[in-house]
């Protein structure tokens, strides 16, 4: 075909990650266990290089490469940046937990591969590329969940695998069906031809594809693995799997929904799933006593908020910037919360956080910024995200979604405060408020503080951030 646009440089960030993953694996095989930090450095260097490569073309006009199968635009650029930096932070917060581990270098390899899968998902503008991205992101995930080698982790890995396999098959089914209906798999062709195809068959195909992506996003109905994996996996793994795959899945979903012709409208479906996710996630988080599991359910509800701009994709100019802003905000805030739990791995119930504010004020500060941030309290960056998400929903003609977001936000406050309250409880005995009561792991603790500060600064600098994510539509 003429003008294939085979520009390998467009995939430079992913190439960096793949090369990084392979080098990490090789380096890890030859290095003695005590010098595995070299592998960590290699992985980090790959992520930094990939971030730079992703940031450079950010201002450029959107373009498609490889015969229209992959799009490089602001969405892809922002998704890449968020995913890479999130992965970098995950490696940072795992610095204590993973160092010297028997599978240290393999972990980094899986993280890098999973991240590249997520960004391939984000840029896919062809169903087959979407499929590739899905599996590239999913298969490392199963390994990451199971790395902890505890019974809980094994169960979580099994659950993740089974659900992933099931919804992966659904996704393939949907892709096949849509291919059969349109005769092609590129979004451009689907957009043009699905309008003439039988509506019910198209809707079945689209629903199946959406179902697959819901697994990656960790939203209803593909959410069952999230709380188990968040609870059972190691700290770094949990932080990774609740942030990076979502970035890819949600941007991919946005592209899909926006591309579909008017006769095959997936927006109502996404809207219903959004409300279901936020409501179910919040209600289920109520009774949780393990902070990790509580966060797991909280991410389910957060995906619900993230699906709101997808449900008004193309109906308002606010939708895409709102999604990207909220994605970045969610990633940094969620990582803060997971970093706090990773820094105190032995504290596995909410009551054991009693006295944290007296013992470790900085860590407690990070926790408050993270949890109130997840609620959307200003001036954290999630506030800016939430405001724009609500505005997008309203402007896009779905005011009911805006109301659902607000009601759920109030509900979520309950369980986040259940965690904050013991940490700041008064009158605790000295042995709970002296620094020795809480000995945070240094790397994870540092990441918690850094990301908390970043969450505040990004909130104050929401203007420039918005400019970064805003100029999306138009161009070539």
């Amino acid at each position: 075909m003429a003008g294939m646009n085979e520009d390998p440089l467009a995939l430079l960030p992913e190439i960096f990650l793949l090369v990084g993953a392979l080098s990490t694996l090789l380096a890890g095989s030859f290095l003695p266990r005590r010098r595995q930090w070299v592998a960590r450095l290699v992985a980090a260097a790959a992520l930094v290089a990939a971030s730079v490569a992703a940031a450079v073309p950010l201002g450029d006009a959107p373009r498609t490469v490889w015969d229209g199968t992959f799009t490089v635009d602001t969405s892809t650029g922002v998704a890449r940046l968020v995913a890479f930096l999130a992965c970098l932070l995950v490696i940072g917060l795992g610095g204590d937990e993973l160092a010297g581990d028997r599978r240290e270098s393999e972990t980094y390899t899986l993280l890098l591969l999973g991240t590249s899968g997520a960004t391939v998902l984000a840029g896919a503008s062809d169903l087959l590329v979407l499929l590739v991205g899905f599996f590239l992101a999913s298969i490392p995930l199963y390994g990451i969940v199971g790395l902890a080698r505890t019974p809980r982790a094994a169960e979580a890995a099994m659950k993740t695998y089974l659900l992933g396999a099931l919804l992966g098959i659904t996704l393939m089914l949907g892709v096949t069906l849509l291919y059969g209906l349109a005769g092609e798999t590129s979004y451009a062709a689907l957009s043009a031809r699905l309008g003439d195809a039988p509506v019910s068959a198209s809707l079945v195909g689209v629903t199946a594809v959406v179902g697959g992506l819901m697994f990656k996003a960790g939203a209803v109905p593909g959410h069952f693995w999230v709380p188990d994996a968040a609870q059972g996996a190691g700290g770094a793994a949990a932080a990774f799997l609740t942030s990076v795959p979502k970035v890819g899945a949600l941007v991919a979903l946005f592209r899909l929904v926006e591309m579909l012709p008017a006769s095959v409208d997936a927006r109502p479906l996404i809207g219903v799933l959004a409300v279901a996710s936020m409501t179910l996630g919040n209600l289920a988080a109520f009774g949780q006593d393990d902070p990790r599991r509580l966060l797991g359910w909280s991410t389910v509800s957060q995906v619900g908020y993230l699906l709101v701009p997808v449900a008004v994709a193309g109906r308002t100019d606010l939708a895409l910037p709102a999604l990207l802003l909220y994605l970045a905000a969610y990633a940094v805030t969620n990582l803060t919360a997971f970093a706090v739990t990773s820094s105190l791995p032995a504290h596995r119930d909410l009551a054991s956080y009693r006295g944290l504010a007296g013992a470790r004020p900085w860590l407690a500060g990070g926790l408050v910024v993270a949890l109130l941030g997840l609620v959307g309290t200003p001036p954290t960056v999630v506030f800016a995200g939430k405001v724009t998400v609500i505005a997008a929903a309203w402007d896009g003609g779905s005011a009911w979604l805006a109301v659902a977001v607000v009601v759920n936000t109030v509900v979520s406050l309950f369980y986040y405060l259940r965690w904050v309250a013991p940490a700041f409880a008064r009158g605790e005995p000295v042995e709970r408020t002296s620094p020795v009561a809480f000995v945070p792991r240094p790397w994870a603790g540092a990441v918690a503080v850094v990301t908390a500060v970043a969450s505040l600064l990004l909130g104050l600098a929401a203007g420039p951030v918005w400019d970064l994510v805003a100029p999306v539509v138009g161009g070539g």
Partner: protein, 496 residues
Amino acid sequence: MLTVIVVLPLVAAVVLAGVPVPEGVARWSWLAVTAADLALVVGMWVAYDAPAAGALAYEEKVPWIPGVDSSYHVGVDGLSLPLVALTSVVFVACAIYALHGQDRPRAQAALFLFLQFTCLGLFVAADLLVFFVFFDLSIVAMYFVIAGWGHGETAARSALQFFLYTFLGSLALLLGFIGLYLLAEPHTFDMVVLANQAPAATAGVRGGLVLAAVLLGLAVKTPTVPFHTWLPPAHTDAPAVGSAVLAGVLLKMGTYGFVRIAMPMFPSAWRAWAWVVLAVGLISVLYGALVALAQTDIKRMIAYTSVNHMGYVVLAVGAAGLVSGSDDKARQVAVTGAVTQMVSHGLITAALFLLAGVLQDRAGTYQMGSYGGLAGPAPRFAGMFAVGAFASLGLPAFSGFIAEFQVFTGSIAATAWAAPALLGILVTAALFLRAIQQLLTGPTRGSSEGFADLRRTEATAVGSLLMLSLLVGVVPRPLLAVIEPAASVVVDAVQR
């Protein structure tokens, strides 16, 4: 200038939170910063020139999120300047009162300075998002005040109730703000533009719904009946300085929102809803007074009189929406009275709550029945309390009289239906006289025995608040001269 006033307490809060200074240094630097801030506000007031209608003085504007046309836009006018001054005064009084505080003074000072930052920021905000940011942050800070320094078994629970209730209100407010943003063409969060444009006027039912969301948020914060149930437990368990700030400053955020946002931005919807607002105000006045009469706990009693006093404000702004059947002048008097009442209530109630805190500090109880004849052992306390009580029930020569007189003149001129609110004054008079009788007169008994009189710091804090109330009551002109032009702008805006 304005930014300096707002940010100074924040900077001090961060420094105090981060640097482990000795306790005494923390207490005195808290006082020094609040005093410096007050000095700046006084300077600003002296140099203040009433801005033109629809404009602000000391305006500053820096883009924040240009994508949604939100900017850090601040400025003051006759509505906000008195409240900025009130905030500074109340926080100075709290800093003086807390000079003898023993419970983690450094953290307390940092938290209160942060709270002051949010209050000042809210009153000078001229952008809905910035307004909301400060609104929400004030709730967070107050939550930590109640949960961290509250007393009693139920402090954590009251703090949670306070947080959830007012946070719910704040989200309704946010929804309303986003609605306003989307109604405006082009979309903007700028309050000055929105007030001049009044986009909801042409929006019919949607405009009404957006106003309903805003009103719900403000009504929870004010609080008006039936959204007041968070207030008494929050006050009962809050520390004295926390209560003083909560009643003196935070409640004003709700009523300030009425005159700053609801009235000028939704003129037609406001006129349509004026009777409802008036009725809610009337019910708050009467219900608050009657429930206060039934209290045996002095702090709960003062808390319910706050519902009553805020009810006068709501009554007045409701009456200002009744355009037919009243002249401009009457409605302007009503709005002026409403703003004056905010200032007056802030001064007097803060003083009363500080005095109630002294009871808790000395004898560990707020039950009026367990005291008696306090005038004997604690003459200074008795004198201050009596003055505060008379000021609160609206005795002439105090600010409360000036405020309530204007509220009633303006409201009753608009509609005779406002007249039953006069009964509220009667009931509050009765309950304050009864409280004076129970606490101060008679033979010294129960918890009054061995009651240590006010310390010099406590007397200074309470006395300065009451002196200011007296000053406003005797020489109201400087305050009214600032408020009146702004009140007439609001009244004109509602007529559009």
